[in-house]
Symmetry: C2
Subunit: 368 residues, 2 copies
């Protein structure tokens, strides 16, 4: 087991990464202050890991809440089910919420913890690669709105995170690839050495080789933690983490939540970002090719769906949280391993990049 | 005009108090950073003050949202209407929300500002006495849940508060009295001199004499600001501000939100707290009498409704946010002007105090 400490002053917390951590009582007990624990999970994860998770909290007043699975349940209505359960069980301010599942469960449970009685403790046990490398670090919580993804939420840091790589053995291939998209992102935006490691080790990740997974998770969290520690509330450089996300969110929203997985949309979004960077003359054709090849190798879609026209992208992107006063700021590449946040790009080249990456024939498994 | 500075480090802000402040552009412009302003108000306040409020923000992109009036609309569903409006108008992270109305509008708009895109700026223009002395200071925002009041929310400080005493001229008598209940609270819990001032000047307040109102508002906010500055997230002494609230919330929840006004329930709750303090031998009969007389003089109910039995009180209070691990902590009096937070009281005496203060004939205008 490896432990990464996320340094955020009095909101600092550890991330434990390794095999067979679920059920290990010692890891989480120091982080539970009250007597009441509610485990929030979903219908997919509950049969696999809920009883093991409950074992970790034996001796506490444990309640478990099993929500329906899927991004389209990440809304205020489902969030309210958590509040219902907490109030029916008379949970007080000293309680702890535990998120057992992927990013949707983590984001919703985290926001419930941020808002219940104006803030209670929470612990994350992410069971997907995406949530282990993404929502483990940063404290972003929230739910979707029909008009935009993650539009309602809070910054709320967990007490600790337990990333058990063994839980990835039950993950669908498509979910694994979606997680790898976020892993690739850390290489692309600020860690060229890691990008090279991924080029060399992608097959081991796809084969779920435990050491490769643990290394990729640790390094991703470490890269993310450095950025978050410097800019917790996303006043500046933290926005680099949105590489591929402005385009990706537009695809997710445009197709309806859940149709494309978040990581899949981000993967395609990163290709569009790299393409625009190439058209701006900031990276060369070879670097663009390396990005496209690596994302393709991770078994991710490399083209946006045909219905995502330039006009549709623009309409959706103008609603994105990163848009300040109407001007769309994008995360683009100056090199592999060096991203920038900029509104200083050519609108015509953006149109070209968006047109290039939709409506092409695709062999990917996702409907276009 | 007087200005009180609430000192909370980088979250510090001014409260401007005085006559005819509404429409004064200079007061709020320094606090609006972006170009987009949404004024949230209700059907009662809009016809009276919305156009004046809009004048304050001329030159900005102004949107106004008029919500239905009443405590029973303070829920997630109505909150979501604010998010709908913000997203439909494509408001971005640099926007400012303005709460124009009483406590319900302030709490909901504040929570919307705390959660929209994980936090945007907001300005409060409270138009009731209760909201001028209560929600002006402290940053508590939130909505109700059918199983408990203010159970979902966040701490979120405004950029500035404008308390225009002229807006109190249109306030219903019952609303004025409800506000005075919170004013009395500051005297009772930590400011005996102010309590004496209220005994001498209650008639001027009820007559809405502008100088008396401004003094009471300033002193209440000042008293509250001292407590909040020392304990922003309610880890300890801030809970003193809940004097009368544990009992009061039980009355509000038990009767259904909106039946009793918050301040009315708090007034009766303070009498119960004083009665229990007397039974514990902490204050004498004379002090208890002073409390009861002052609350009565403010034209507030001094008895809980007949349906609020001891059992019903206990059931509802165990769900209160101030309850830690099943034990009900109460704010009680050691003297007029000296409150304490304690779980060290006699349960039998609590039962007596609760039985004493319900089911008695009442001449108050509220149904019992």
């Amino acid at each position: 087991m490896q432990t990464l400490h996320v340094d955020l002053g009095e909101r600092s917390y550890p991330i434990h990464i390794g095999e067979n951590l679920l059920g290990n009582t010692d890891l989480i007990r120091p982080h539970v202050t009250g007597k009441q624990v509610m485990i929030v999970t979903n219908t997919t994860v509950a049969p696999l890991y809920l009883s093991k998770a409950e074992q970790m909290f034996s001796g506490y007043q444990i309640e478990s809440l099993v929500l329906p699975d899927g991004e389209h349940y990440k809304d205020l209505k489902t969030l309210n089910k958590i509040f219902d359960a907490l109030l029916e069980a008379r949970f007080d301010r000293s309680c702890t919420l535990v998120a057992l599942g992927g990013g949707v469960i983590g984001d919703m449970t985290g926001f419930a913890a941020a808002s219940y009685q104006r803030g209670v403790n929470f612990i994350q046990i992410p069971t997907t690669l995406l949530s282990q490398v993404d929502s483990s670090v940063g404290g972003k919580t929230g739910v979707n709105h029909p008009l935009g993804k993650n539009m309602i939420g809070a910054f709320h840091q967990p007490q600790c995170v337990v990333a058990d790589t063994s839980t990835l053995n039950t993950l669908a291939d498509r979910e694994l690839s979606a997680g790898i998209a976020e892993v690739i992102k850390y290489g692309m935006l600020g860690d060229e050495e890691f990008f090279c490691w991924l080029e060399a080790n992608m097959n081991d990740l796809l084969k779920r080789e435990p050491d490769a997974l643990a290394y990729a998770i640790f390094r991703s969290c470490e890269d993310k933690a450095k950025i978050v520690a410097a800019d917790e509330k996303e006043a500046g450089q933290r926005a680099l983490l949105n590489l591929g996300h402005t385009f990706g969110h537009a695809i997710e929203t445009g197709m309806g939540y859940g149709e494309w997985l978040h990581g899949e949309a981000v993967g395609t979004g990163m290709i569009i970002a790299a393409d625009l960077s190439k058209r701006m003359g900031w990276i060369n054709q070879d670097d663009f090719h390396r990005v496209e090849v690596l994302i393709d190798k991770a078994d991710l879609p490399i083209r946006a769906p045909a219905s995502m026209t330039y006009e549709k992208f623009m309409d959706l992107m103008q609603r994105d949280k990163k848009t300040i006063s109407g001007q769309i700021r994008l995360v683009l590449l100056k090199a592999i391993g060096e991203a920038i946040i900029t509104a200083d790009y050519d609108q015509e080249l953006l149109a070209q990049a968006l047109n290039e990456h939709h409506a092409l024939p695709s062999t990917r498994k996702i409907g276009i």
